[in-house]
Amino acid sequence: MTARLARFQCPTCGALLRSDPTEGAVPCDYCGRRSATADPLASSPRSYIAPAVDRSSAALAFRRLLVESGVLPASLRGGIEPVDLRPAWVPFHVARAIRVGVVERPPAETIDFEMDAAVESVGGARSVSIRATRRERPEPDRAKVVLADVECAVAAVRRPGWGIESLAPGAMLSRGASQRSHDPDEVRRHGAVLAADIGPEEALRRLAGEAGLSGTTLVAPSLRTVLVPVWRLRYRVQGCLYDATLDAVEGRLPAARAPEDDRRRIPVAVAYVGVAALLFGLVGRGTWWLLATAGGAHVWLAIACAMLVLLGLFGSYAWDVVRYDAERVLSGGSVLSEYVNRPRSTGVQRLLESLLEGLARAGRRRVED
């Protein structure tokens, strides 16, 4: 929480002033003089998108969307136990500007004709000469034209795992959401506003980057803050807590986490171990056959290395499945599976990597020899 207590005094009479971040200037209650706030960026006008999903609808939608999106395994859908459902406002900096461009009109072409033709006329033949030449106007026309209004929205908060990047206030408004001017009481009724940790300059910077056509400039940039309502749910599955975000305007699920179904993961680990062991056995049988027939030492070494690599690979997979908890993560519309708290490389992987490195080194040495 940043301490945002500003000593707000009327410069005329010294009385205390209201601190209202939604207004660019506040009037003094005693002498009436209006004083501008210190930071014009911080006092950009606010509006909010009206939430269309209330608490009970959100609770129902969460349960349905967690299953429909595929983030919650179907076998666990009966085990959801909602723990906490909290509303929040996500602030977005919305930068708007007019993109102005200089357009060059191509030079006009004029054509002169020059041709010879015989024209029969009364009293004898007359010769008419018509000349045709192609000339270009040397100077092109330049015209300054308004190309378009451009707008860019940037989330004013960083909340990893919340799916904020998939919320787009502009798209919501274009799909029929209603935008209202800031009403502190209405905003407060829905929930808390998240404290911004990204400045509005970022929106202007991104706007300039997105609208950066050659030969165009942005004029009359303006900033405003749009609050987008979301619901944050915490729920318990298999004794552990998970969270999800629900877009309170359109009822979408931008982000969620849920456990993998452990009853399915262990058979997968068993399968990995089985494949590794079976390959080991089959390759061993092949090695025996090679040695018994015409195999040489280099063939045996290659097969032994292949055995070790396969064993390490499938053993590593099996180790990950058995050792680390896994979660399904919904992000950007797709569901991914990821291990919880798994180090970047496990012991088996490090062993495998060192083995491969040793093999490569031996191969290089052999080539050099």
């Binding site: 301490a3 207590l5 807590l241 262990i266 080991f280 025996w288």
Partner: protein, 250 residues
């Protein structure tokens, strides 16, 4: 030259007139001693809860939190930062009401809390520190609400390699973690390890010694099916609704 009216107001507690100080946002009533927050010439009753958890108690509180949630190892505390959050508290007649944050918050967990209770700071301490480090309420009150400042520690915890923010309510010693911290669900014990090793050895022997390819497939598939169920029983905790034992957390 026009005369400037001297700022004055009435105490939110007793209604007595009080002189407003242009240098201060919190003024004391000389009649009843209540602290008044001045917002646009309007006085609001304000109070500050006395913290009972100091910075020396943070580690112990986190350890208790980890123990209560079955986390075998307590998260590492990376940073501790003092933070005051003002809440609009409804009048005493509201039963079961909640207090709403009067400022923008970093997590919805802080946005709405049960009505904060505890010892209030003496007026002198309130007045001495009121304007120095308190966040100014930027959400207006509804009728009859009082402003109550609740002390928190803003923490950064490292749990199992990942960093997560958390808040420690210094009046109750409660930890509010932004990301859920979970005990581990799976457990690789000696029994499971031994079972998988034995299964691997037998499967390798099948691959090496089985007479025909068909027998290799049939025998290994049958063995896998026979091992999968006891392996799942050994790996998953008994009674997943209330996990026991320790492990890792995010």
């Amino acid at each position: 030259m026009p005369t400037v009216p001297s700022p004055s107001g009435t105490c939110a507690g007793c209604g007595a007139p009080i002189a407003l100080d242009a240098d201060r946002h919190v003024v004391a009533c000389s009649h009843c001693g209540a602290a008044n927050l001045v917002v646009g010439g309007v006085t609001l009753p304000v109070a500050r809860l006395r913290p009972i958890v100091g910075d020396r108690d943070v580690d112990a509180t986190i350890r208790r939190y980890a123990l209560a949630r079955d986390l075998a190892s307590a998260p590492e505390v990376l940073s501790v930062e003092e933070s005051w959050v003002p809440y609009w508290v409804p009048c005493a007649s509201v039963v079961g009401g909640v207090a709403r944050a009067a400022v923008e918050v970093e997590d919805p967990l802080l946005g709405e809390i049960p009505i904060p209770t505890g010892d209030l700071e003496p007026l002198d301490a309130v007045l001495a520190e009121a304007d120095a480090s308190w966040p100014w309420p930027d959400v207006p009150p509804s009728g009859g609400e009082t402003l109550r400042y609740v002390p928190y520690y803003r923490l950064r915890l490292r749990a199992g390699g990942a960093e997560t923010p958390a808040y420690l309510d210094r009046t109750r010693g409660e930890v509010l973690a932004s990301a859920p911290l979970n005990p581990e669900r799976l457990r690789l014990g000696a029994a499971l390890g031994g079972l998988l090793a034995a299964y691997g050895l037998v499967t390798a022997a099948i691959g090496a010694l089985a007479p025909t390819p068909l027998s290799v497939v049939v025998l290994s598939a049958a063995l896998s099916a026979a091992v999968a169920w006891p392996a799942a029983r050994l790996a998953a905790r008994p009674g997943t609704s209330r996990p026991t034992g320790g492990g890792r957390h995010r």
